[in-house]
């Protein structure tokens, strides 16, 4: 998949790297015992440490370390046994310390890999540069008062993982696929809920462009806080086009931070003076370096669940699914779990079909997720089972499925109640076939006269007469025998 921008001077390639801030799932904050719970009253989840009262000392939450290591292992990354928390100094009203405790020279996780699932079942590896732990800032509320900004420190000090990719991404679609995959991985791992709407996953996008064939990287621009996958893709398109135009007009792109405005479809510079990037990092004297033992890392590794890539490979290899179906099913943990329950002991391909076509269609229509599905995984599996053993035809199964969606009943019960069992008794089918032929002598002659296509009409009539319950294969055979025999 190539994505090139046609400029006046030729074709331009887009180079993108993503910095994703993922909120760590933990009970307490990174350096204090205050809660991370979402939706509490303003400043209720704040300890004296989070408010940066003089003399307060940070103490590292062991869960944050464990979650970062777990995520690093999920990204097939190097876990650094020695890492250091540093102070990133800047002033902002929602940063009470006057510095953010982050990691700079010695992050807890080094280089890793995220494999993208692209259209058509193809895949591509994107490098991870690093993952480090840092504190979130508080929240500024600007619209409550014309002259004042309100500050809520509930988020101040919540642990974040900043996951930095290498500049390996070349298209907006790859950026989208990267974010979806990263989100799937952290959700499988249980290290971040991946919810971009609520801000527990946020992305900064680094964009540069270069004439096709050039190997040097040109100056990059950072587009801040783009809060949905769709916006990330749009922001890349818009910013790349702006840069191509600027280069072609002989302007120099300056390294700056810009904000994406989805309403106006543009990026614009943040006021750069106040945000002068001079963070004067230095090791935080309140915190000792973090040292991890090999057996600690190995113990976490043992608890990792099967991750999307491995699961996908297994579904293809053991169950014979197509790469496309497999990547759809493993895209999130709930879908994968649902599928595996439903497919237990059934025809996996057929279950996959029912899930990705019928169930997804129904869920989309209702606007609910798979965790709220009115049809349980066991029942969907049972429905496929009824088709497999010939109890009902696939056509009847569609009606049963509709019923299941409405009533939440088990398919067996619905088939029983409504008498939908497929008629496989050849005597019974034969009787219907004979009746239909006797009732339609004209059409029967037509078939006998050589118009074999008209046999399809007879199949339809017999199915109708049996209320869809006759086995279509048997009907076909019987008709052929009787009319063409």
């Amino acid at each position: 998949m190539s994505y090139l921008i046609e400029g006046r001077t030729g074709q331009w390639e887009v180079v993108v790297g993503l910095e994703v801030h993922a909120q760590v799932i933990s009970n307490a904050k990174l350096f204090s015992g205050a809660s991370t719970e979402f939706g509490k009253g303003p400043n209720e989840n704040v300890s004296l440490v989070d408010a940066a009262m003089p003399g307060m000392l940070p103490v590292i939450n062991e869960m944050a370390i464990e979650q970062a290591v777990r995520t690093g292992l999920g990204l097939r990354a190097v876990i650094n046994r020695h890492s250091v928390f540093e102070r990133k100094n800047y002033f902002y009203a929602d940063l009470p310390q006057g510095y953010q405790i982050s990691q700079f020279l010695h992050p807890i996780v080094g280089e890793g890999i995220v494999t993208l699932d692209l259209d058509g079942g193809e895949s591509r590896d994107i490098g991870i540069e690093r993952l480090h732990l840092e504190q979130d800032a508080g929240k500024s509320i600007h619209d409550r008062d014309p002259r004042r900004t309100m500050i809520d420190l509930n988020r101040s000090g919540v642990a974040l993982m900043e996951i930095v990719s290498k500049p390996d991404i070349r298209t907006p679609e790859e950026a989208g696929a990267y974010l979806r995959k990263l989100r799937a991985i952290v959700r499988y791992l249980g290290t971040c809920d991946g919810n971009m709407e609520e801000g527990s996953m946020r992305a900064d996008v680094n964009v540069s462009v270069r004439p096709l064939g050039e190997t040097e990287l040109r100056t990059r621009v950072e587009v801040k806080n783009v809060n949905s996958i769709r916006f990330v893709m749009q922001a890349i398109e818009i910013e790349a086009e702006r840069q191509v135009e600027a280069w072609e007009d002989g302007e120099e792109i300056i390294q700056e931070t810009r904000l994406f405005d989805p309403n106006r479809g543009e990026t614009r510079p943040m006021r750069s003076k106040e945000f002068a990037h001079d963070y004067r990092y230095f090791p935080d004297p309140d915190l000792l370096p973090v040292r991890l033992e090999e057996d600690y890392i190995a113990a976490i590794k043992k608890t990792l669940p099967e991750l999307p890539d491995d699961k996908k490979a297994r579904l293809i290899k053991d169950l014979g699914l197509s790469p496309y179906d497999a990547s759809v099913l493993v895209a999130d943990r709930e879908t994968a779990a649902y599928f595996e329950t439903a497919a237990k002991g059934r025809d996996a391909k057929q279950v996959a079909n029912w899930l990705t076509t019928n169930l997804f269609g129904a869920l989309n229509k209702r606007g609910v997720g798979i965790d709220e599905s009115p049809v349980t995984a066991e029942d969907l599996g049972a429905l496929v089972g009824l088709i497999e053993d010939g109890t009902i035809s696939s056509k009847i199964a569609k009606d049963v499925f509709e019923d299941m969606l409405e009533t939440g009943k088990a398919p067996g019960a619905i088939v029983e109640e409504k008498g939908l069992k497929q008629i496989t008794d050849s005597g019974a089918i034969e009787a219907i076939v004979d009746q239909v032929i006797a009732d339609n002598p004209g059409q029967a002659d037509e078939v006998r006269g050589g118009n074999e296509k008209a046999i399809g009409w007879f199949v339809g009539q017999v199915m109708k007469a049996s209320q869809g319950k006759a086995n279509p294969g048997q009907v076909n055979q019987l008709l052929k025998a009787k009319l063409l025999g």
């Binding site: 933990s26 009970n27 307490a28 204090s32 015992g33 205050a34 809660s35 009253g41 303003p42 400043n43 209720e44 989840n45 704040v46 300890s47 004296l48 440490v49 408010a51 103490v59 590292i60 939450n61 062991e62 869960m63 944050a64 370390i65 250091v84 100094n89 002033f91 902002y92 009203a93 500024s140 509320i141 600007h142 409550r144 008062d145 014309p146 002259r147 004042r148 900004t149 309100m150 500050i151 809520d152 420190l153 002068a276 001079d278 004067r280 090791p283 915190l287 000792l288 370096p289 973090v290 040292r291």
Partner: protein, 95 residues
């Protein structure tokens, strides 16, 4: 390494400390004295020695992932120069 008046002006800005123009030159001298004094350390040959990050050889203490703090809005806001209900209030920060 030597600091000039511009450096001092910038450092003061980054630290949000107001320094009168007349004080820049003397401050630069004072800072240069301090830096010069510390720079004597570079005379020590540290080749092949890992940087020391702490003077004490102890392992980082960690806390359990337990919520045992918070719910003290009044304590948190007690010294705030301005507040609005449960919020800190600060002069408007323009987006």
């Amino acid at each position: 390494m030597s600091l000039n008046e511009d450096d001092v002006r910038k450092i003061a800005f980054l630290a949000r400390i107001r320094v009168d123009e007349a004080r820049l030159a003397p401050l630069a001298d004072e800072l240069n004295n301090i830096v010069g004094w510390v720079e004597q350390l570079s005379e020590v040959d540290t080749n092949g020695i890992a940087p020391m990050t702490s003077a004490v050889d102890i392992v980082t203490p960690l806390r359990k992932d337990v919520v045992n703090d918070g719910d003290k809005v009044e304590d948190i806001l007690a010294n705030a120069p301005d507040r609005e209900g449960p919020f800190f209030a600060v002069p408007k920060v323009v987006e």
